[in-house]
């Protein structure tokens, strides 16, 4: 990497550099905020899936319990 940086032109950070940096930072922040929102939504979805699994297991357990006495009578 050092030969690349050695041959690279100096970045004029003092003058227009702050504007260029700001533009690229805005882009990165925008993408990061979007990804953060999507990550929160993915967490909600995961929670919803866990709830669904619990509800389905509870419903199945209830159905099994309802079937058992019938089997005993028969």
């Amino acid at each position: 990497m050092s030969p690349l940086f050695a041959s690279a032109p100096a970045i004029p950070l003092g003058t227009s550099g702050k504007y260029v940096a700001a533009a690229y930072i805005v882009f990165v922040v925008l993408i990061l905020v979007y990804l953060a929102i999507m990550a929160v939504r993915a967490q909600h979805l995961e929670r919803e899936l866990q709830e669904l699994r619990r509800d389905v297991e509870a419903a199945r357990a209830g159905a099994d319990a309802a079937e058992r006495p019938t089997e005993a009578v028969l």
Partner: protein, 217 residues
Amino acid sequence: MFFYAPLDADQGFTQKIFYIHVPLAIVSLGGFIFGGLLAIGYLRTGDRAWDMRSYVAIHMALIFGVGALITGSIWAKASWGHWWVWNEPTLVSFLIVLLLFATYQPLRFSIEDPERQSRYASVFAVVAGAFVPLNYLAVNLATAYVHPRVLTLTGAKLPPSMGLTFAVALVGIALLYVTLWKYEMAAKNARSQVRRLRRTLLGDDGVRPVGRSAAPS
């Protein structure tokens, strides 16, 4: 873009914003047209999956458009000394397109019936999507502007090294758009399938209301 592309003779280092601002603007406008084309799919078939694709395409294009607007504003401040110039057709026309598509989500919010919501939103997306190239042509025909004209209808006015850097940046931003579009589509599809599964297994009572979401479920 910082090491390969040469410094611009006129603008110097400030011109580096070009490699992020212009691809963002192009991909954003392309995304609006893409959303309109996908909306045609819904109007032809009535399949709500097309509406969801159109919704996500416009949503992503809006985010990229905000990025283009902010980076452009920063570039304007660095080059012209002003954050915004109201008598510049390119800036104002882009703002008009962005504000037009910013009304897309409130339009969806305002309609409760899902079928009507999809139909009205699709018609809006098609009409507004058709407005984008017309707007571009109108701006190109305008004579009074201070915004640089690098990409014209007759071709690009860039030296080869700058042109290559710009092409790579454009492809990169376009790929980012497609990736995020697919990502959001996958997330929305997963959510919709969970809700459908819940409805199938537990009945309508087992499904919570969608809440304040304009997204097609």
